[in-house]
């Protein structure tokens, strides 16, 4: 037997055995996704104590945001949670790291300026050195752009098995007394395996970029534009009583929210047109899980029936680029009737940049 034939046989055997795990007993196709949360949990009750403000009670935070608790990466870096999500994916679906020939890593809280975090993760996950790997810097639209890039790599024959990881630790950018961000964001990571046979399952993309919004969600210092100094580390209080320094993340919540209401319906319309479909024909819709207020407003605006719409933020918060894969995996885990083989799911991400993207995937 020639080495090529031997290799093909091993590969075929591997795929046959792994394929069993891609389908549940009911014949549901599974998209191969795993996720990981750091163990530290921050509850609304803890926030209420720390904020010490009569208008920020635990119950009001829950009522407004739909969030009860979120996970915090205390001592863990983006690379750590990325590795954990990758390991879970390998274990859950019987995947060998040797199968991976491309690693895409989405983060805005990398370990270093350089090298790219993906190199560190490649080594720690024992992904072959023959694999390509790079980070890309995107927030809430990151998963969509990752799928678009993976589809390109697979379609062009550059890669056969792309590992797409999203790993975000925004809480490291957040000042503990900045209620506008600390209340909604949580840390987490996801890992998705995309194979050649998945190309057909990823539909057409609608992508939008508008850098005019750059200043509305930003960590102003730390890179070349504004290096960190004692001056930039000085804390100050804004008009709403939030405390932060120039070294922390700043979010103009109201403007971001208004931008979402303006931009997302148009994005969805474009996505439906590009995929020759309608809202009625879709089985399920997963928008970026920003918070309940945003999700409820968009659902009403887009007139999506509740049973076709994912809201899953209660014990997670907004995990930035990880919300869509986490919500998709958790919906599959719940075994909801909307998700079965052949189901069409619209997914859409939007936020920091501004950067938006959406597509339709088929299970």
């Amino acid at each position: 037997m020639s080495p090529e034939t031997l290799h093909r046989n091993i590969k075929n055997t591997y795929y046959r055995s792994a394929a069993k795990k891609y389908y549940t007993k009911k014949g549901q196709y599974k998209m191969l996704i795993s996720y990981y949360f750091p163990p530290t949990i921050l509850t609304n009750e803890e926030l209420e104590k720390e904020y010490a403000s009569p208008s920020w009670t635990a119950s009001k935070i829950y009522r407004k945001t739909g969030i009860k608790s979120r996970h915090i990466a205390k001592d863990e870096l983006a690379s750590d949670i990325a590795v954990e999500a990758g390991k879970k994916l390998f274990a859950e679906y019987g995947i060998s790291p040797s199968q991976i020939d491309f690693l895409l890593l989405c983060t805005q809280s990398p370990d270093y300026y350089l090298p790219t975090t993906a190199c560190i993760v490649q080594d720690r996950l024992a992904i072959p050195t023959s694999a390509g790997a790079f980070d890309y810097n995107l927030g809430c639209s990151g998963y969509i752009y990752g799928l678009a890039t993976a589809k390109g790599l697979l379609s062009a024959g550059i890669a056969k098995n792309v590992l797409l990881i999203t790993a975000e630790t925004y809480t490291k950018h957040i000042h503990p007394l900045d209620r506008s961000t600390r209340t909604v964001f949580g840390d987490g990571a996801s890992a998705t395996l995309l194979r050649e046979e998945d190309i057909a399952k990823i539909g057409q993309f609608a992508l939008v970029t508008d850098g005019k919004g750059a200043q509305n969600l930003i960590v102003p210092t730390g890179a070349m534009a504004n290096p960190r100094t004692e001056e930039t580390a000085k804390e100050s209080e804004d008009a709403n009583g939030n405390i932060r320094s120039m070294d922390n993340i700043y979010m103009n919540g109201p403007e971001i929210y208004a931008f979402t209401l303006r931009g997302v319906p148009e994005l969805i319309e474009k996505t439906l047109a590009k995929n020759n479909t309608t809202m009625e024909k879709l089985d399920y819709i997963i928008l970026h899980q920003a918070n309940k207020l945003v999700l409820d407003s968009l659902r009403e605006k887009l007139e999506i029936p509740e049973e076709k719409y994912c809201v899953d933020v209660e014990n997670i918060g907004n995990t930035v680029s990880s919300t869509i894969p986490i919500a998709l995996k958790r919906s599959m885990e719940r075994g909801i009737p909307q998700l079965k083989k052949g189901s069409k799911i619209l997914i859409a991400g939007f936020g920091v940049g501004y950067s938006l993207g959406a597509t339709v995937i088929t299970l």
């Binding site: 208008s55 709403n240 109201p254 303006r262 605006k301």
Partner: protein, 73 residues
Amino acid sequence: MTIEEKLDLISETLDAERSNIKPETQLCTLDEWDSMGVISTIAMLDRKFKKVLSAEQIEKLDTVQDILDRMEE
């Protein structure tokens, strides 16, 4: 919707005491007029009155009357 009903809706949106919500009230004097309050107001105007405010319009909201002016059916 009457002025009183609109004021009720604003007070409910902001989670503020109804007695504190008068047309002449300066929004910045309300504890509840923080980022969550502003976002809740934008959501209310969008849902009930189909109006999405621009960043400039949001910044120009100064008194309760300014919100009332946007609540046209």
